[in-house]
Amino acid sequence: MTTTIKLQREAFDVGGEIELLSKGRTDIGAVVTFTGICRGDENARPIAALTLEYYPGMAEAEIARHVEEAQARWPLLGVTVIHRYGRLAPGELIVLVVTASSHREAAFAAAEFLMDYLKSRAPFWKQVETADGKTVSKSWVEAKSTDDAAAERWAAPLPHREAAK
């Protein structure tokens, strides 16, 4: 299993990450990617930028734990998770999840699992900047109950799952 986890300010290259994970390998039959992009609106209001704050150390460890859990659930051959932090303009890429497996079911399921997790459980917080004329205002994005529900659909008991989750 090839695992790559990166938290970074810089942009990333989706095609390059897929290649890093799969190039020269003939055991991988399926690669799924999810790319999250900064939209130009939040709750129907135009935004100027998004600033992402995270908990250094905890974010990496938490993502690593969930990548391990994905490995335990599905026969994966590779996983890459890249999450950016700092200020991002609309259209910029925020997050990338790449999953590789011999067949598509595992790759799809693991990518969805990791995204549901990142959305609601990984220690990241988004602040939105809106610009109405000359006034710039900032507000923290509220967590969505649909994201919690999405994360909870994976909560079916597995032997190694901690009770705290």
Partner: protein, 83 residues
């Protein structure tokens, strides 16, 4: 013990981190929140709705009932909005 605050918890308290020494009868995360609330207006504002506050001990998510004895670093933050 070291406390860390993130997002609007950090903004309301006005600090990203600090060292505190709560009395011995402050045994759980929930009790620590109550104790912190008395430290000033910013704390009271940050913790005005304790139910939405999330906590981590040594970078692991914990619940309000979690005991803080032996904790190196405790963090408080709002519900997460990554991805």
């Amino acid at each position: 013990m070291k406390l860390r605050y993130f997002a609007w918890v950090r903004e309301r308290i006005g600090l990203a981190e600090e060292d505190v020494s709560p009395p011995n009868d402050v045994a759980t995360i929930g009790e620590l929140v109550v104790w912190l609330t008395k430290r000033g207006e910013g704390y009271a504002y940050a913790f005005e709705n304790p139910k939405v506050i999330r906590a981590a001990i040594d970078k692991n998510h914990v619940r309000a009932e979690a005991r803080i004895a032996g904790a190196g670093e405790i963090a408080f933050f709002p519900p997460m909005t990554g991805g």
